[in-house]
Symmetry: C2
Subunit: 241 residues, 2 copies
Amino acid sequence: MRHEKSLGAHVNLERKSIAGSHGQILAAHSLARSAAEAGIAASPLSTLGVVVCRGAGEEIFGEGEAAQHIYQVVHGAVRTYQILSDGRRQVCEFHLPGDFVALDADGDYRYAAEGMTEVTLLAIRRHGLTQRAAADPALAQLLWSTSVRSLRQSQAHASILARLSAVERVAAFLVNFAARVEARGALDLPMTRQDIADYLGLTIHTVSRSLSLLQSRGLIDARCSRHVRLHQPVALTQLCA
Amino acid sequence: MRHEKSLGAHVNLERKSIAGSHGQILAAHSLARSAAEAGIAASPLSTLGVVVCRGAGEEIFGEGEAAQHIYQVVHGAVRTYQILSDGRRQVCEFHLPGDFVALDADGDYRYAAEGMTEVTLLAIRRHGLTQRAAADPALAQLLWSTSVRSLRQSQAHASILARLSAVERVAAFLVNFAARVEARGALDLPMTRQDIADYLGLTIHTVSRSLSLLQSRGLIDARCSRHVRLHQPVALTQLCA
DNA sequence: CGTCTCATTGACACCCTTCAAACGAAGTGG
DNA sequence: CCACTTCGTTTGAAGGGTGTCAATGAGACG
């Protein structure tokens, strides 16, 4: 029934010779400086975490590993994904600066995470976080409201997957991503067409065709594959309402 | 996983005693007695809520309404759904006894809820809940972990919608629902084919055809539309792994 | 028996996947 | 400087799965 040909997964582990601190966990006291520089000193979590860096395509954690940390993206972009039994990849979510990764972890990670660009993260010990939340209602409520935001994002994702056509899914993705990076006109996409396809439940071919169609209608300009300009955001939004 | 799964028999008694109160919110002091009789006094939420009853197909709350309450299903089954711009319905989730409804509410309800059967719920004031959570870390953590469970359910839903064929989606639905009601063999479905279709992003026709196909393969027995028997649960699970 | 609702089944059209090929950019080596 | 490779992307052609349209079947109820 399922043709095993199109493996969405492109496991690229060849990104080597990453300069300096990439891939290393820095000491907590060095975080203080980094966090301040990154403008996240105000976060109630910054004192619980350590800064880690990963290169583009480098794994942050693997599916099934013991979930010792949750992460907050500081710089760059992260994708979380699962590899299905037939070898295909399902991208669960794209994570941008400020977003949490694996906040829902419980025991083992249920998906893998890797950088789409060079990425800086705050790695927070899950055990310490729950302990602190048990004594700090404000923190516990922050964790609750953050999880609820993830839940709403996931529900919106499910609704898109359930009901929209390919062109509408791509439009929805563009509109949603533009809103998240707070960019009205020009978008710099950290993800490949394959990432988008695996996120939207489509093939790379259909994503490409849909973008071409949107461009032919004058709704977008996607001449550079990683740079998309939204010409008619209102019309795009109406497409996927 | 399931909360208060042992209260079924008690709640049956309770339903009789308040049978004349369908559609009405009972006074809080009457709840105290009702909750105690129903055996849910141990819940940290029971003292915050009042019992409400709704008939099959009756609205619990509407999309866009001010979200004053969150709910916990005591008895019966609830569907939450959105009506899309083209008039189609997207079922967000089916809620069974113990499940919370609209725990993610923030301002206005983002979806509507109605009973699929006659249903008894605990209606908990959102304002009071958040106030209490601010002073009670254990409650805040309960809310967090409950939201995380909903998040995982939603992510699994999205994964099904993104990657599985019609037959696989139906199989996944049956397996998942069987696990939730802890029934290995025979399932009593509270939902119609249309509900299933709107949950799985399919049409009622495709759902019906898929069930017929599963039956022709000997995996299930679906002669009564609301009563399905899973003959080969392992094979069903493998279908949608 | 008639009506209503829900469910099943068939025929056909269409959208998306699959298979296949080609393009462009970046990197490598001759 | 130019072949040649590699990777990501785009595009074309054909096939299959699911939606649409239509008709029929099955219970529930008056």
